[in-house]
């Protein structure tokens, strides 16, 4: 059996292919593109074969075109997955810069709307409210300095609770 086959039906087209041809995410992505025009059905057609049925929502649609478009979209989705995988850092840094620049820092309204309840209001993750003795009482000389450095590095890496 060839790697990909088509069966035109009444207002629908069934596409079958080897499941090893494309990553699953690409198949889902490509199928999803058609949901405004078609009823989309994904199934397994025997041993390691995927079956996608596109049934046109409107009568008279050229389903052969859908079949071709689906193949092109599959290829595009698979390629994009590969490119994004290879360029993850670039995408993340551009997106972060764009959204950070557009959103700006939180304003007063947002700070006021933050969840500062009884449970969170008196949390002291950095130990700012503690006395020096309380903070370092169990540590000997020298260890305190190390602990300080650790605290500092944890703070720099994203503000997770140090406690």
């Amino acid at each position: 059996m060839s790697d990909m086959s088509f069966h035109l039906g009444e207002g629908s087209v069934r596409i079958e292919f080897d499941e090893g041809l494309y990553p699953k995410d690409a198949i889902y992505g490509a199928a999803y593109v058609f949901i405004d025009r078609c009823w989309v059905h994904l199934d397994r057609a025997g041993d390691r074969r995927i079956q996608v049925t596109l049934k046109a929502k409107k009568p008279g649609a050229d389903t052969q075109i859908y079949a071709g478009e689906f193949q092109n979209e599959l290829l595009g989705q698979a390629w994009r997955l590969r490119i994004v995988e290879e360029n993850k850092k670039l995408v993340e840094s551009i997106t972060a810069r764009a959204l950070g620049g557009a959103a700006g820092p939180p304003g007063l309204d947002e700070l006021l709307a933050m969840d500062i309840g009884e449970e969170t209001a008196f949390e002291d993750p950095l130990g700012i409210a503690m006395s020096w003795e309380e903070k370092y009482k169990k540590k000997g000389k020298g260890e305190g300095a190390k602990a300080e450095a650790e605290d500092a590095s944890e703070g720099a890496s994203g503000g997770e609770k140090a406690s």
């Binding site: 593109v33 390629w79 994009r80 994004v84 670039l90 997106t95 959204l99 620049g101 557009a102 700006g104």
Partner: protein, 504 residues
């Protein structure tokens, strides 16, 4: 000599990756090979030179070596700090949020146009008028943008149909901006048929830039834009002349300050490239934007009337721009906007921040569109899709959304990621990636996905066609033509229209 298509087959195993070069992309343009690198530098090499490169041959004493070095194609000697600085400068638009805020103050319109259905309602549909309260909320959100300057663009429908609210919003924005101190501009896109002296006096006094639609010569314009009981073209022309005179009367330079007009290139318009250009020049316009018809304003059968093959559009574009270049050679100062946007990137080493041709696109992070009912969209195109029944690009509303919630909306994030050209199939290998951009809403509308399939995208075909044309001109290197194209990269700022940015 064979072209690029057979080169690598001929070479077979003799093909060798050239060493010492930065990553670059290539394309055959007019018989030579265009190379572009990630910085946006470009260079033409002959087919023989390119063949030598593909065999891994690059003699350090050759003129080709010098040429490549002078355009930053060689790793050795590349000033990395300067390269990083150039990229950061060109992408500086990422440092701030939306500059363009489109307020649809009404859907009512007094004209009926062949390419516009989604964005209009009949004149009695007063329920599609924006209220003053919604208008104020639009201003409040706009002024929270991290952008130091903002433009509020009034659109419709026909915005003059809801002039009282437009007036109120302008006064409110001027008053509120005293606390923000932003560079504030107003623009109105109108067919001008509802203009009168009183409205004009207000608009000139409040420095509202006026932009209108001209579809070309009268016979074409009136065929496509029906004004009940009148002639849409004559009305527009009459008011363009009157407004331009008003600018002269207050001492503004008419070469810089005049009504701007927008073209929508329909299938019918393709027949008249030169006549359209001449109409614009005759009206005193210095910039013509040869925009192909977009797929947002209409649906179904209308598409078959106004749509066309993009190869036909590219022929139209070439003929029209050749004519514009001829006019320039005869002393007329007129430019084509598409050309000017791409040339600013290609020759000017800058990005003019045109929202639909940048990477990532300006959807959400560069512009917001506010519907008459207060709903907010990532772009005006997204808003039009909502009007045809698809809310995919609604990111909030003026009643409940905060500015930051809009910017952090998952749709905005997706639109940013989908419009980074360097990581899209096809674009990743395309020679024009450093200069290109595609609005993801367009891909969604035409192909059902915000990522799009560029090989089948009409927008990609247009962008490729235009850049092929421009690069071919640069390859021919006719001094007069290059001088004209170089001039198109310099856009003079219209400072008169900027309201002072000093906060009180």
């Amino acid at each position: 000599m064979t072209g690029l298509s057979t080169l690598f087959t001929e070479l077979g195993s003799a093909a060798k990756a050239p060493t010492g070069l930065v990553p670059f992309r290539f394309r055959e343009v007019g018989g030579d090979i265009l190379l572009t690198n990630f910085l946006g530098d470009w260079l033409f090499v002959t087919q023989d030179e390119f063949r030598a490169l593909t065999r891994g041959e690059l003699d350090s004493a050759s003129p080709l070596h010098d040429k490549l070095a002078s355009r930053n194609f060689l790793r050795e000697g590349l000033d990395q700090a300067k390269a990083a600085e150039r990229i950061a400068y060109k992408k500086r638009f990422l440092n701030w949020g939306p500059n363009l805020h489109i307020a649809v103050v009404t859907l009512r319109c007094n004209e009926t146009c062949v390419y516009c259905h989604a964005s209009r309602a009949n004149m009695d549909a007063v329920h599609t008028d924006m209220t003053p309260e919604i208008g104020e909320k639009v201003v409040d959100l706009m002024l929270q943008s991290t952008s130091p300057s903002v433009t509020l663009e009034f659109q419709g429908g026909e915005p003059l149909a809801n002039f009282p609210v437009m007036k109120h919003v302008i006064e409110y924005a001027l008053a509120r901006n005293r606390a923000y101190g932003k560079g504030l501009e107003f623009t109105m896109v109108s067919n001008l048929a509802m203009m009168d002296e009183e409205k004009l006096a207000f608009l000139v006094d409040r420095k509202v830039q006026i932009c209108t639609s001209i579809d070309g010569p009268e016979h074409l314009h009136t065929k496509q834009r029906i004004l009940a009981g009148g002639n849409a073209h004559r009305e527009a022309v009459k008011w363009i002349e009157r407004i331009n005179k008003a600018y002269i009367d207050i001492g503004l330079d008419p070469t810089l300050y005049h009504v701007e007009a927008l073209l929508t290139t329909t299938r019918e318009a393709l027949k008249y490239p030169k006549e359209i250009v001449d109409t614009y020049v005759g009206l005193g316009c210095r910039a013509i934007f040869l925009r192909p018809v977009d797929p947002f304003g209409f649906a179904g059968r209308t598409a078959q009337i106004v749509e066309y093959d993009r190869a036909a559009y590219n022929d139209f574009y070439r003929t029209a721009v050749e004519h514009i270049l001829d006019l320039n050679r005869r002393g007329e100062q007129v430019l084509e906007r598409y050309g000017s946007i791409f040339l600013t990137k290609i020759l000017g080493d800058d990005d003019p921040n045109f929202l639909d041709i940048r990477s990532p696109s300006g959807s959400g992070i560069g512009a917001l569109a506010y519907n008459y009912d207060g709903k907010i969209f990532s772009s005006d195109e997204g808003r039009m899709m909502y009007e045809t029944g698809d809310p995919a690009f609604q990111i909030g509303d003026v009643f409940t959304s905060t500015y930051r919630s809009l910017m952090k909306h998952e749709t905005v994030r997706a639109l940013v990621m989908a419009s980074i050209r360097d990581v899209q199939p096809d674009c990743v290998n395309c020679t024009y990636t450093p200069y290109c951009g595609v609005q993801p809403e367009h891909s969604y509308r035409t192909q059902g996905t915000i990522f799009g399939r560029m090989r089948e995208s009409t927008l990609c075909a247009v962008h490729k066609g235009i850049q092929d044309f421009l690069f071919d001109k640069l390859r021919e290197n006719d001094p007069k033509t290059v001088e004209i194209l170089q001039r198109w990269t310099t856009v003079r700022a219209r400072t008169h229209f900027i309201h002072a940015s000093s906060a009180s």
